[in-house]
Symmetry: D2
């Protein structure tokens, strides 16, 4: 089981009545409940806490960080973005959710705009597993359906994922690479598309399953930390 910190912007859940109706305790609380139900050891952190709840001590005790933000990406401090990036490169897992694609930390780690097409029409989304060998695909079957979601459409301006696990079909005619992994330094990153604030997506059992699987995957074993010392030659340099 992983030690997961669930980060939430926690803004629209307080300011926007329809969102509050679905997520009265915040989106982060729903995500945290799903992860706890899968046996993970979970804490939460939000934008308005000091250091956004992401102190050095919290990150040091975090195996996997999940990130949901939407309207306040620009309010996240540089220092915290730097700190999270460093911690990912040193081995912390990172799960970026839905509108978190435009978060500063995700763009920083991707090196691209992370732009995409979108449409708020509450349409049907079908998510298809395209990598059956992947740990994140466990228990999902061939596909699952979300009856009402925001549409995200290609092109998604991210680096080609190291692994593509899920592709979404949308009722209006679009597709999207909805479950993608990237490796950065010692860290493993997963982007998972669903989760618009006006739909109860984070209560859906398959969505919860994907996030819990991803936390287990991202928290798994890895290699050594970076040693910055430069080496003396291990082999003789005399001319052969």
């Amino acid at each position: 089981m992983a030690r997961v910190t669930v980060w939430g912007e926690h803004r629209q859940e307080r300011s926007d009545r329809p969102v509050a109706a679905i997520y009265p305790d915040g989106i982060h609380a729903a995500i945290a409940a799903g992860l706890r139900g899968a046996g993970h050891d979970v804490r939460t952190a939000t934008l308005e806490e000091p250091e956004h709840g992401l102190s050095e001590a919290v990150l040091a005790a975090t195996d996997v960080l999940t990130w949901w933000g939407h309207v306040a990406h620009n309010e996240v401090d540089d220092a915290v973005v730097d700190r999270v990036q460093a911690r990912v490169l040193d081995g912390m897992g990172l799960i970026v959710l839905h509108s978190g694609h435009h978060s500063r930390i995700f763009r920083r780690l991707m090196g691209t705009t992370a732009n995409l097409h979108w449409r708020e029409a509450g349409e049907r989304e079908r998510l298809w597993v395209v990598d059956r060998s992947h740990p994140i695909a466990e228990g999902l079957g061939e596909s699952f359906v979300l009856d009402h979601e925001e549409m995200y459409g290609e092109p998604f301006d991210v680096p080609p994922p190291d692994e593509l696990v899920l592709i979404s079909w949308f009722q209006g005619g679009e597709v999207f690479r909805s479950g993608c992994t990237w490796r950065r330094g010692r860290g493993r990153i997963f982007y998972f598309r669903p989760g618009h604030e006006t739909h109860p997506t984070y209560f859906h059992p398959m969505v919860r399953r994907v996030i819990a699987n991803a936390a287990s995957w991202a928290a798994g074993p890895r290699g050594a930390a970076l040693d910055l010392a430069n080496p003396a030659p291990a082999e003789p340099l005399a001319e052969g």
Copy 2:
């Protein structure tokens, strides 16, 4: 411009009236016409020719081979499959089209079943470009539409593509990795999904554009042929 050999099974076009009505000269003739229109130097070959039209001499003079087969995969000789595989590993490009996913040469090169889901309902297909950096994507815009096609759905049992260029959306709810590349030896392989024999798909300008782009891409420069001699040490082996 590439020297392209267009291979066609040329069976249903002679036995099946609706197919003959669309492709009176064979599916290979339509594919060849598209490639010639893009400036490639094209010849054709079919199953019933000696050695299926794929002699050593023909393959030696071929930069890129395109493959369309459907009902007679098992009639392709072992010796020809061996020869095409060897030629791909030595640097010939290979473009596998539609039902060619179950051809012996494609399964041989993939190492998997190449199984997939399918449905003949003449439904709408939208093909989305997901790698805008790729030469095969040139001139396609963001997406294009085929009004009536057979559906191919995930899971598609192939190795994860080295590059994923196109994803299809189908009206009935499925998605498919429709434009995929793999590198094998010195050769470059492209799989392109559309092209059911009961639809005039190979006359569609965007389909022709994809195949012509893929031929240019697959015919491009590459590294050295395999040298099977084993080397003496270039550096001294005395203990350091």
Copy 3:
């Protein structure tokens, strides 16, 4: 812990005195001992057993199969190669060791010749971790050294690995992609280079660590088995 079947050709260990001196119980026994020491549940199987020890029942009870062969690749029955391939595509892990690169099962799954350069000079090999995020890299540090090994040199005629974990340096001037993963169907494959029969490589603690890590990685969770039924449309096909 994984249920691992360690397959050994077990030929040179009986016919060749220097090999027998190092591996009196067979190379497979040394590999099995290393895996047991890491806590895996291990059985062995060898070429001369009925069905090479790889019956349907054995494979069904195997999470990960390791493969070491050298001089008798051509004695492995077609039916067993077919069976192992099918089981890998259905989710069994496969770890191919050293000269197993030319085994029929590995070439079948790769679709290439798996050729490489080699030299038997007992030279020094240094293995460097190039993917610190990978579970197989756990506990290896930055690099480790084998004082005497056969050289394998690039080009290695395999598909580009999905993940490249280790690169070898050889004293005589060559490099080699020594730790490579590929995904095929539901199965995960790892190739690990070291292990010439005239050196006690499979007693080396780092070599054992790599193989044990790879077994854990290959045995991990995965997605659903292939469902071959073709679907009815889940969405309406009427014209929009």
Copy 4:
């Protein structure tokens, strides 16, 4: 032939006598000469020019930018880094050379530290082609040798390359992923390791060949520019 802008820091060539002796007109001039010799259309730009010589107009007329910097990475303006990044994402090729691994533009596009081990001992480097299918490998044979170079050793803290073309062997015992490609947006990026300022590396015919091949590869055709408009549904959203 590509329109190439060769960017050089042009600092040590003026301040450091041994460097000036090798590159009296600047490292950029030697790189430019090599590219011109291969038929490319080349201009140069350096740090001390206004906007570092990389105005909007220059970048708009550039198919491929090459980047060599070392001691003055921090003097490159934010605005120019932003501009180059945007132009790469919009389709310009980028070739980052040697110590350019620590340039702000490369770290920005990678999302990692780009750290590595290094040693200035003038040792021998052998570069091995590991992807014989790649256009950048044309004309290189199996390997080539640089008699005296700075050592760069793994781990190299970059995202796993989309394509790995070259691996270096160093006399002192290290290996390095020396020829790597990444795709970002519509742009293609190549990192090429050799080129320490105290060695005449950019006069070496194989080094020039790699850079010229990479320019051709990076300048090739690509897909459409990003369209930021959000789409209306192309398919009906009424319930099925």
